[in-house]
Symmetry: C2
Subunit: 343 residues, 2 copies
DNA sequence: CTGAAAGCGCTTACAG
DNA sequence: CTGAAAGCGCTTACAG
């Protein structure tokens, strides 16, 4: 109790050297008001002199706050997520928190383990960006008994009671898709194919396909099941989807891809087969990643406010941690049609 | 001491209910051998029944191991880093550790703060991927007194004494660049420009430029200062660099970009100005990000083993944490020329 | 094999 | 304003 284990200097050591109680030393460390100027100064000096650094683990055990937020996401390799992460990072840094990241990978396994670990490590909150969350996962999230924020994620619950507990940040995916396809139609395209994500994913595939169909139906255009390709938000999916479309007897004249990654893969496939974009086939993407401005031609896309989604996520998280909000809230941010040269 | 603060169940609660000492409960939790089968079974049952979850913070305070590794990197938005992160993540998950991520952003500020925080939070080790590390940063890293691994990072120290303490993972940047440029030369290009990174960065710019110059000199080709553009590893840098080259009175016939991001930006610029690739101008990149396979034409590039750099980084980290290695080690991984259609 | 006790490094009422 | 003490939830010698 009096001898240091290694050369780590503890608050206790500082207190002794400054001839004050450890409580007083703690008070100056935490900027508590009731400390005499004289002792405060003395303690500060000794801290500086001894190179004292507070032990966060010890503090966390007592205060039950780790100043650390967990982030679980699908695939950091997709710039869409990376951009959101940038927003999260900047805001987290500003608030003096740390970030524990778990990248599930495209397969998305390990989710239960990831949630539990974040609970066990007493993170102050968890942000999730990924596949739709079902009742089982939702329950695991709730079991951690920590503030939660879902970004760009559909929370699909059979048990509606749970709804009130969730905070989420999204855009209006259905209308975004609708607007994108409408744009194609206004440009004169009539045979419009769809490159979607995982089939049935309420997150992006379902609402965006709905927007796609709404637009086509409204304009009386044909919805051809052969012109719908499912996959991931990846180059590969787009590439394969487009190759498939262009090998059909009845070829589409435009493609709406629900991710820019897929749109870029689709463009590649079209070029390889000698098609011109936008003359022979139009392409429109979704997300608005930086990359979309560096294809040739530039990709037209429905841009999501990725960075802002990240900053808002942390703000919503801090609102909860600091007790400024009670029940769940769903924040809807604006998307935006960015016109490029691809359609 | 006997009453629970909230509804969290502690080891103490488990012990009482199972009528054993808390020490015994701890022993079964940690799979220590010397526990009677009977008590072990009883404790396990009670844990299950009460939904006990160990508190990592408390455990960490005692064991001085947080089972958490810190990762500091430059720009998660660059797929090169994201790919390394994937390797790190998979290996970290396998070893049952967590990852605290700090994305510095392209500016790279906050480094001192990031290092200190990771030390204060008692992370078990720190991995750094970023700009070159100078004596000051190196000292901060050492002050944390934790295992360190530097990935794709030049550690430039005036104080050579420090060298032995560092573990790093790199490729041979100079030879990689040399090979890339040689490839251009063999393809018949003679007026070869360079799009580099931050000027003077020992990390990538300096060694890769050296390789570039070595190749040109060996073949007796002219090194034109006007054909060297500095910037970042970004689309924008490549785009601006190429625009600049193509506005010169003496235009290069090929460009070596020291990142794929820049190479892609360069291709975009060339296309916009009506140049054909590879006929009018050849392009070769560096890194081998997935993206390079989805440009049209496909980008020829010097591919780095990104995923493996990540897994190796964690292995080297665990070697240190678990005391299997003593002094620093520099691991050199293989790069590889991936031939596309861009030159 | 097992329980009681000390201790990891802090913070926070509590009594002065 | 201040110090001594208790306690955060674990682990780990220690003595039996």
């Amino acid at each position: 109790m009096e001898k240091k284990t290694d050369n780590t200097v503890r608050l206790q050591d500082v207190a002794k050297k400054a001839s004050v109680g450890v409580g007083t030393a703690s008070r100056v460390l935490n900027n508590h008001p009731n400390v005499s100027e004289e002792k405060r100064k003395r303690v500060l000096e000794v801290m500086e002199e001894m190179g004292y650094r507070p032990n966060f683990v010890a503090r966390s055990l007592k205060t039950k706050s780790t100043k650390t937020i967990g982030l679980i996401l699908m695939d950091i390799t997709n710039p869409f997520y990376a951009d959101i992460l940038r927003g999260i990072q900047d805001e987290v840094t500003k608030a003096d928190y740390s970030l524990i990241l778990t990248d599930l990978g495209t397969k998305g396994n390990h989710l239960p383990k990831a949630i539990e670990t974040m609970g066990d490590k007493k993170l102050d909150g968890i942000i999730y960006i990924g596949n739709q969350v079902d009742d089982d996962s939702a329950q695991l999230f709730l079991d951690t008994r920590r503030p939660l924020v879902f970004v760009s994620t559909a929370v699909i619950l059979v048990n509606k009671e749970l709804h009130d507990d969730f905070f989420s940040i999204e855009i209006d995916n259905e209308n975004g898709a609708y607007e994108g396809v409408m744009h194609l139609i206004h440009r004169g395209y009539k045979r419009i194919a769809l490159i979607s994500g995982v089939k049935g994913d309420q997150n992006s595939s379902v609402p965006r396909m709905k927007g796609y169909k709404n637009a086509l139906e409204e304009k009386g255009l044909h919805i051809n099941p052969q012109w719908i390709h499912h996959g991931e938000h990846s180059f590969k999916t787009g590439y394969e989807g487009m190759k498939g479309f262009l090998s059909l007897s009845k070829v589409p004249d435009a493609v709406f891809a629900i991710s820019d990654m897929a749109a870029i893969g689709a463009m590649k496939a079209a070029f390889e087969l000698g098609y011109r974009i936008p003359e022979d086939i139009g392409v429109i993407g979704f997300d608005g990643i930086t990359h979309s401005a560096y294809t040739h031609p530039t990709l037209t896309t429905i841009s999501q406010p990725r960075y802002e989604m990240g900053t808002k996520a942390i703000q919503l998280m801090l609102d909860q941690i600091e007790g400024r909000v009670q029940k769940g809230r769903r924040v809807l941010l604006d998307y935006r049609l960015v016109k490029g040269g691809s359609c």
